[in-house]
Point group: C2
Chain length 200, copies 2
């Protein structure tokens, strides 16, 4: 590859990346139906030609946001867990890691939201639900969870906690005047309550 | 009041009510920033003049939705609770009543969403959090809740469950092709899990 075409390719990658980031912020804030291609174009400060060169439709941009959010999430979940660690501690760590990642990354909040709001694209929940299921199965196998703690019920509890955290983080991100909520601390205290019979 | 002016007043009340319902559906689906007055006007099939006669701004419409959602919620919460009933059962009943009301009423989902997305208006959470706090205090006073079950932690758990239910109900309402989720059954099973140490 010539030096000139490498520079052009690098520029294309940067442009594409800036468009996906602008789309993620817009989808995070206003949702899929509430966001237009022209809003994304304006937020990215690019021409409509540059945008449509990379993404022909809003759906393609949403797909790209969901892919990037999924990759970030799957990597963070892997980092948060130690293979032989206590599975119940792992479940708490997974929840807190997802909440922290959502606080940092509009890309991840956006992927979570888009998964609920449109039919296409990679489901964000599939980046962490298999890991949660594996932890719950290990905890059950080791006898620390009561029979009522069926994997799907525990996974639903994790989902609700994550959606609750996401909603609060989005509300804080949208309004600087809103008092900040310690989302991680809140989740940790809820887990302390829920895990009382397990940890004693 | 003459017969003619009574008819006119009734018509005005009906027009106003239709506008608030159309606004609730739009805010529920697309959020506050994602909804315009002209979308609401079109959904209500009215002229912009009729709309602005009743509501000068989008904020006034959002205030009206939050007021109506608050009133419906406060009444439902009151109906769901028996003053001398078991407070832990009451907490579960309150959660399930809120989820059922959200399934029925875009007005209520919209009020919950608007409370997160804008600074003004009546906070939807204030329609049920005082009742939840009272139940938690009664349960603690009767000794059935462990010390770790501080009122604000239990109330945060209820909030997360409700936001999780709201998100699933909204996703189902937006997409008829999505498999229906038994949101109430899901919440009941999570409560069974959480309340294991209390109920044995």
């Amino acid at each position: 590859m010539s030096g000139g075409s490498m520079v052009m390719q690098e520029r294309a990658v940067r442009t594409r990346s800036a468009l996906v980031r602008a789309a993620a912020r817009a989808f995070d804030r206003n949702g899929y139906d509430g966001t237009s291609l022209s809003q994304i174009r304006a937020a990215a400060e690019m021409s409509m030609g540059a945008l449509t060169f990379h993404f022909a439709t809003k759906g393609e941009l949403a797909d790209a946001v969901q892919d990037e959010g999924w990759i970030l999430t799957e990597a963070r979940v892997r980092d948060a867990l130690t293979p032989a660690g206590d599975p119940v501690d792992g479940l708490v760590a997974l929840t807190l890691a997802l909440a922290a990642l959502m606080e940092e990354e509009p890309m991840v909040r956006s992927a979570a939201r888009l998964t609920r709001e449109r039919a296409g694209g990679r489901a964000w929940t599939s980046a962490w639900r298999p890991a949660a299921h594996a932890l719950i199965e290990r905890a059950r196998a080791s006898g620390v969870l009561p029979p009522v703690a069926r994997p799907e019920v525990v996974a639903d509890l994790v989902s609700h906690l994550i959606v609750g955290a996401e909603a609060q983080i989005r509300a804080s991100a949208a309004d600087a005047g809103r008092p900040a909520v310690d989302v991680g601390g809140q989740l940790a205290r809820i887990w302390d309550l829920v895990l009382l019979p397990v940890r004693g």
